[in-house]
Amino acid sequence: MTDRTGNFFVRFFSAIGEPFTNAFIKTGFAGRFLLSVLRHSPTALTRFRLTMREIWFAGVLSVLIIVVSGLFVGMVLALQGYDTLSRFGASSALGVLVALSLVRELGPVVGALLFASRAGSAITAEIGLMKATEQLSAMEMMAVNPIARVVVPKFWGGVISMPLLAAMFSAMGIIGGYLIGVQLLGLDSGIFWSQMQSSVDLRFDVMNGVIKSIAFGIAVSLIAVFEGYDAPPTAEGVSGATTRTVVISALVILGLDVILTAFMFRGI
């Protein structure tokens, strides 16, 4: 009897502890993986053609979804903002509202969320399938390091694409805001642009947004390449890894955003 209860307690505590142990091991593995990616990163520069190809796949092919979403988000911001601002007789500040919301928050955050689901998932699936079909093993046996040849270009392709996509998102959002605010709701175009120009600060607002988008780009790209490289080499393994990339990226983006915003804009 005592033996069975002993067994029960052992099983109970190992069931509680196991997810933590696994998460701990995986984090350690991810850390070593990051070091290895950084160590091989000079190849991304010396063989920039490989990185260019990844910028095409992760960045250029994401432009459409980013541009269309940016336009819609800007339009919605203008519609919502006009309704609220006009109650206080401040509808002339619509341009400022739209621009600040986009360059500080929505451009980097929504852009990164879209980037994770469009490009991050594709990166994970590609690396995972290369592993499942032994392509990474074959590369290793040809004395070509798969981290240097496959992972590093994809990582830097993502890191370079992300800030550019976030900038496109913000720019399209501002155009969307202009279309609604000025063309549809009849605000004065001069006031719309000049208010925006005088209130949006390059260093404080725009640069902080760019820093955020770089941080998100690093996070999403690292999660995507790691999940692909770590995926079990089976159909379920790769599909699970792809899902994890999107879910973990979304959580990390939003969590990082809280931290970065707290540092950047406290006291405002």
């Binding site: 392509q135 093993s137 074959a138 046996m141 040809m142 004395a143 070509v144």
Partner: protein, 269 residues
């Protein structure tokens, strides 16, 4: 007699819950062609991964060209792999590259040859496997056997010192099979290289190789030249080369009593 190219000494390897290889010692000399035979799951492929340094032995040593594979640093390991070529069971072609670019891959990655030389070499290797006419196809347009032949052309692109073949003969039609078998032998003799062929294709490999090792239960259970193997009275070897169902090598994985499992009998106390 120079030192052997590959030497495994009392190698043990396993995953946390089960041992794959318990105690394997074998030697492969330069210029020699060796077949490793054994049933499914006997650790044949694992053996190739140990030699290529993709997994490390838990005890014992694996030596390739005088270097202890288990003790190499990452960069030394990649330097050692430059001497190796490996043909994977399903080819493992890069699906985003054409047949031509697949064969050119090791040449472009590991040498600084001008593109015209790369082109000549690629066409020569593809000619050797009979697929020069397929150089513009993508891997998904190839049959399994053709993909394996392209992979062979890619593996021999840099004339390795040691070629490892993982099940090279499965799924080939009879013409490709004898041609590829011939090619593998010629490559070995022309390059003065050594070859390891992991296979369970008995007839084809006995006609081809110089020496045979039999693996079972994680250890070497028999070895000899093809003639010795054919004449062997060892029950395991006889069972294997004649494909007999009854013998020391069980066809069934251990399981509870069949009738009991189907519920046809009540368990006895």
């Amino acid at each position: 007699m120079t030192s052997p190219l590959v030497q495994l000494d009392r190698v043990r390897f396993g995953y946390s819950d089960r041992d794959i290889l318990t105690d394997v010692s074998l030697t492969i000399a330069r210029g020699q062609m060796v077949a490793i035979m054994g049933g499914s799951g006997s650790g044949k492929t694992t053996l190739l991964r140990l030699i290529g340094g993709q997994v490390r032995a838990q005890s014992g040593t694996v030596q390739v060209d005088g270097e202890d594979v288990g003790k190499l640093s990452e960069s030394r390991m990649y330097a050692m792999r430059r001497k190796l070529g490996m043909l994977f069971q399903f080819g493992a072609l890069f699906t985003d590259l054409s047949v031509y670019d697949n064969v050119a891959f090791p040449l472009r990655e590991r040498t600084n040859l001008p593109e015209t030389v790369v082109r000549d070499l690629v066409l020569m290797k593809l000619q050797a496997v009979g697929l020069r006419g397929a150089s513009n196809l993508m891997p998904f347009e190839l049959s399994g056997g053709m993909a394996r032949r392209v992979a062979l052309a890619r593996a021999i692109a840099l004339d390795p010192m040691l070629m490892m073949y993982d099940e090279p003969f499965t799924g080939l039609d009879p013409i490709s099979l004898s041609t590829i078998g011939q090619l593998v032998r010629e490559l070995n003799d022309a390059l003065g290289a050594a070859s390891i062929i992991v296979t369970h294709d008995v007839a084809e490999s006995l006609a081809l190789v110089d020496y045979v090792y039999f693996l079972s239960g994680g250890r070497v259970v028999g070895q000899g030249t093809p003639d010795e193997i054919r004449a062997s009275t060892e029950p395991f070897i006889k069972q294997f080369i004649n494909g007999e169902r009854d013998g020391p090598l069980p066809f069934h994985k251990p399981a509870p009593d069949y009738a009991l499992d189907l519920g046809l009998e009540q368990p006895h106390d």
